[in-house]
């Protein structure tokens, strides 16, 4: 019983958090434009009139790409640190295709 009550409370918290989040999504403008997301989702059969869900998908994709870029950056930094011959102090951090995968 206690467990159920706790889970119920947890659910309510999660519910509220989620609904708050969805509401806040309308203020947040993701980097990927809504039109682009709608185009590709429509191509794959995703049908939803709700703009918040479109924004959610956009944010999720942005997060994914940001994670990939971040990992690449780490790789790049590690590669540059390993290079012994480094005369220049600052080197431009350039992403290359092998760092993405």
């Amino acid at each position: 019983m206690n467990h159920n009550r706790q889970s119920n409370d947890g659910k309510h918290d999660d519910d509220s958090a989620l609904s708050d989040f969805l509401a806040s999504l309308m203020d947040y403008t993701p980097t990927i434009p809504d039109e682009l997301v709608e185009h590709y989702l429509a191509k794959s059969g995703f049908q939803c009139p709700d703009v918040r869900l479109i924004r959610l998908v956009a944010v999720a994709t942005q997060k994914f790409v940001a994670e990939v870029a971040n990992d690449a950056l780490q790789h790049c930094k590690a590669r540059q640190a390993a290079v012994v011959k480094d005369k220049r102090e600052k080197q431009q951090k350039v992403i290359s295709i092998d760092a993405c995968f």
């Binding site: 999660d14 980097t31 989702l41 191509k43 939803c48 709700d50 959610l56 999720a60």
Partner: protein, 370 residues
Amino acid sequence: MSHGDVKSTRDTIKSENQQRLSLGRLKADEFGRAVSKIAVAQICESVGFQGFKESALEGLTDILVCYLCDLGRNASFHANLAGRTECNLFDITRALEELEASHGFPSASDIGHCLVGSGTVREIIRFVDSEEEIPFAQPVPKFPIVRNGKLIPSFEHMNEKPPGKHIPTWLPAFPDPHTYIHTPMWNERASDPCADKIEQARQRRKAEKALLQLQQRLVCNGSSGTSTSLATDAEKEKVQGGESNPFLAAPLQPGEKDVSQVVSPAKPTDEASKGDHVSMLEAFAPAIEAMKGGPSDGEKLHLPEKRAAVHFKFRAGKKILGEPLDLSLQKKGERGTTAFLRIEERDDKKRRAEFILRQTTEFPMELNQS
């Protein structure tokens, strides 16, 4: 942001894409990819990169597009599984969990839990809270643009009855029979020999009128008085000749300036040869009236009174229409007047023919004499 190979900003990316478009080989979804490239570039910039290679940018764009398509496909799959066509939050959450299953996400091992508390969503919430908002650089129009296709009108629309009961009226109409059946062509114009003759005669008369007007104008040129001083004997002769007809006008002396005077029926033009023109008008009056058929005649006669003096070069060998006329007519004197009056009484055709005949026969004679 600088490019590894080429210095590129968001504008140059766009221009590159435009160049590619101008080449003509438009790949499908070119616009979507271009927009995705810009978005990816912005995300990379926010992460901390200062430059990227073209190949890397293309790769990341592919990743973005694939991720979006996969997410949509998975979400619609889950919605269809639940017997719906429209996706909701839980479909997206399940799809997200599926995609991230390989990497792992918090609460992945919890089975049978409510999706509301899913780890993926929590992570997204965390991401939104931590990251600063970077809106897309350019305004993006709604795409793809849907064009209203031109539809073939249906039988109902055309108010046509479909040939055959088995064809419903809401289907597109058949093309017109003349587009696929060769029908013989008949000349529908009814031939009216009487009307044709009348028309022919009318056209002939028109041509003659034009010719006559031309001759008249040339005659006027020859018979008109000059703006400079004239010899008295020439004047006298002119007065003599001008009484009756312009054919008896004095010939132009070499070196004299000839102002071509154009006579309008109502106005006498030159003071020196006023008498000329009045009498000439009288002489020509019946002919002029006969000619006055169409409005064009009246228009042509409304010409300026005086024209600028024109210098003519007189060469003996050259045959100018105006000159021989004067030469020939000067010698005739009274005889020419009566002859001319007689001519007016005849038809246009006959008058013309006689005139031309006279010109050809008498000109060589006069030329020899002078």
